[in-house]
Amino acid sequence: MESASVPLPHGAGGHATGHDHHGPPEANVSSRIDRQTLGILLFIVSEVMLFGSFFASYFFLRVVVNPETWPPHPFELPVAVAGMNTAILVSSSFTIHYALEAIRKGNKAGMKLGLMLTWILGLTFLFVQINEYVHIGFSARTEAFGTIFFSLTGLHGAHVFIGLCLLTAATIRAFRGHFDKEPEKHLGVEVPGIYWHFVDIMWIVVFFTVYIL
C-alpha cells in the first residue's frame, strides 16, 4: 500500500511496538444507532427547522397581518389537483417501505421494483406540481399570499428533488448490484428511504397548512 511507504513524521509516539500500521484503528461503537442513520436524522431536524422558518413567515402573513379572508380575495387554490398529488406522494412512501422490507429479507428484485416505483411516483409528483404552477394564474410576486404559497411549496419541491437525487443514487447502485453480495448492508437504501419519508410527511404538513387550513 502506498500509505505504508509514506514516512510518518512524528512516528515516535504511538509506534513503539514497531509493527506497520496501515490505517486508523477501528473506532469504538458507543451507541446502538449507526452513524449514517443518526446523521440523516439530525440533518432532518435541521431541515424541519428550515421549513419552520418559512412556516413562521406563513403564520405572520396570515395571522399577524390578518387579511380579511384567507386566501385573500382573488386567489383560489386547486385543492383537488393537490389532493391527488398528495395521494401520489403518500403512496411513494409505501413503495420505498416495500423496497426496504424487500432488501431486509434479501429480495433484491423486490428492492429494485420498489425503488423504481418510488422514483417514478416522485417524478410524477414534481411534474404535477410544475403543471400546477404554470396554470395557477398568479406568481410569487402577486401579493404576500403568492410569495408564501410559492416559497412553501417550492421549498418542498426542492426537497423532493434532493430526495429524488438520493433515490437515483440508490437505484443506480441497486441495478449495478452493489447490494447483491451483502444484502444485510443496505444503508445506501435505508438512508435515502428515511429522507424520503421526511419529504413525504413534510408535504402532508405543507398541504394541510397551505391548501386545507
Binding site: 510518518l8 486508523p24 484503528p25 469504538n28 431541515e47 427547522m49 413562521a56
Partner: protein, 633 residues
Amino acid sequence: MVATFTRPGWYRAALCTVLAAAFGVGIVVVLRAISGLPAFQSEQTGYPQVVVPLITAPLGFLLGIGCFDYWLRWGFGLPTIPDDHSSHGAYSWKDYFKVNTDHKVIGVQYVVTSFIFFLIGGLMAMLIRAELAQPGTQIVGAATFNSLFSTHAVLMIFVFIIPMFAGMANYVLPLMIGAPDMAFPRLNALSYWMLPLAGILFLASFLAPGGAFDAGWTGYAPLSTGAPLGQSFFNIGVQFAGFSSIFTALNFLVTIITMRAPGMTFWRMPLLVWANLSTSLLVVAATPFISGAQFMVLLDRVLHTNFFQFGAGGDVISYQHIFWFYSHPAVYIMILPGFGIISEVISVHSRKPIFGYRLMALALIGIVVLSYSVWAHHMFVAGMFSWLRVPMMLTTLLIAVPTGIKIFSWLGTLYFGKIHTKSTAMLFALAMIVTFTVGGISGVMLGMVPFDIHVSDTYFIVAHIHFVLFGGSVFTIFAGLYHWFPKMTGRMYDEKLGRVHFWGTLIGTWGTFIPMHWVGMDGMPRRVADYASQFGNWNLLISCFAFMLGAVQLIFVYNMIMSWRFGPKAPANPWGGKSIEWLVSSPPPVFNFDEIPRVVGGPYEYGIPGARHAIMPGEGAEVPATRQTMVGS
C-alpha cells in the same frame, strides 16, 4: 495537460469556478427568455445575473477542489477510489491547501483561516475607531463607515468566532473522546472549504456597485431588501457559513454519540465535549432560521417577492422574529464552546476536579433549552406585540441562572486550588471569568425592558456585546489556542511574549469597552459615523486603547508563527492534563491511536493519588484508584 484539469486541485477548482459562474449566468438568461423578459436586465434592481453566479461559482469551486468526488462516484455506482489514508496527515505546508479528511489537518485549516479573517475584521475595527476618534468626518465617509461596521461584525461572527471554536474542537474533540477521526471525515472537509468561500463573499462585496453591505450584521428588512447589490453577497455568504456550521455540528453530534472510547460514559466526558455537544444541538436546530431569513431577503431583493413588503401584505417585523430566533441562540453558539475551554484550562492549572461537574454539564443543556425562548428581547423597541415583552424579560433573566452556575463552579474549582499561572492560557481563563461576568451583568441590565428602551441603539449595546464577545469568546479562544498550541504544533510558545500579549489585551479590552458604557448611557448612538462633540474626549481615549489592543495582537501573531517554526519541542503533556489528548504525543500520531484507549474514570481527578482518566493500549492495566481513596488536595 488534460490531467491537470481532471485531477482534484486548484487548477480544476479554477476551471470549475469559471464554468459554474457561466452556467449561473446561462440559467438566468434562459429563464428570463422563457418568461418573456429581456435577457439582460436593463433596470438593474435585483442583479440576478450576478446573484445566481454568486451561488453557483462557489459550488463549482467545491466541486473542482474535490469535495464531492467520492460522493459522486459512489452515487453513480462507480468504483470509489479506495481510501488508502494518503489524505491523512500533513507532511508539508502544501497539504493544508488540499482537501484533507484528517480532523487534525482540518482543525489547523479552520484555526488559521478564521484567524486571518479575525485580523482582517480587526483592521476594519481599527478604521472604525480611527474615524470615531474625533467628531466629524476624518477618514471614511458615512456610507463606507456603514459598510465597515457591518462587514466587521459579519466577519467576526460568521467566519471568526463560530468556525474558530469549530476548528479547535475539530482538533481536540476526537482525541478527547478516543476516536480515530470524526464520524464523517469527507463532510468535515466540505464544511471547512465552505468557510473561506463565505469569508471571501463577504469581503468581495466591497467590489460591488454601491459598496459592501451596510445594513449591519442583522440586515433588518426593509433596509436590506432595498439595499444595493452588496447585500446579496451577505445573504449568500451567510448560507455558506451556515451550511458549514450545520454540517460540522451534525458531525460533532454523531461523533460524540457513536464514537466514544470504551468506558467513556456521558458523565465521564470532558466538559469541552459537553460544551460542543450542546453547541451542536443549538447549531443544528437554530441555524436553518437564519438560512430561511436570508433566503427570504434574497427572494425579496431578486425576484421581488413580498415577504417583507408592507404594501403587498408582507410583514416587516417577521424578519426580526425569524432572524433573532437564530441569532439569539447564536450568541450561545459563540460562547458555550468557550465555556468548555475555560473548564479544561481552569481545572488543569488549578489542579482540582471541576466543582459540580454534573451541574456544569446540565447548566449547558439548560442554556440550550432556555436560549430558544428569549429571542424577542432584541426587539423591545421594534414595535412587536407588547404582550411579548414581559415574558421575554423573564426568560432572559432566567438564563442568567445556568450561566451563573458556571461562573460559580469555576470559582469553586479555583477555591483552595494550586493555581499555576505559568501558562498564558490560565491568565486568559482567569481574565475571562471577570470580563465575561461584567458583560453578563450588563446583559441582565439590558434584559430589563425599561432600561433596554433607554439604551437601545446606543454605545451601551456595543459595550455589552464586546464585553461578552471579546472579553468572553475571544479570551476563551486565546486561552484555548495557548492551551493546545503545544499539542497542535508539537512546539512550545514563548511564555514571555504570551504574557505581554495577555496584559496588553486585558488592558486594551477594558480601556476600550468600559468607557463605551458611559457614553452609551449618555446617549451616544451606535452605527453612526459622526457624533455630538461632547463625547469627543471619551472617544479619543477609546480609540487610543483600541489601537493598543489591535497592536498587541501582532505580538500574538509573531509568537505563534515563530514558535511554530522555531519553538522548543513540546512534551506530550506540558500542563499535566488527564484527558486523552494529553496521553498521545505532541503532535498526535497520524491516526491518533494504535488502539483505542480505555476510559476508567472521570476526566478531572486532579489531586487524587492513583486516579486515572484513561489507560492507553500497551500500558499495564493496574487497578485504578476509586474516588473513595482520598479527598483531593
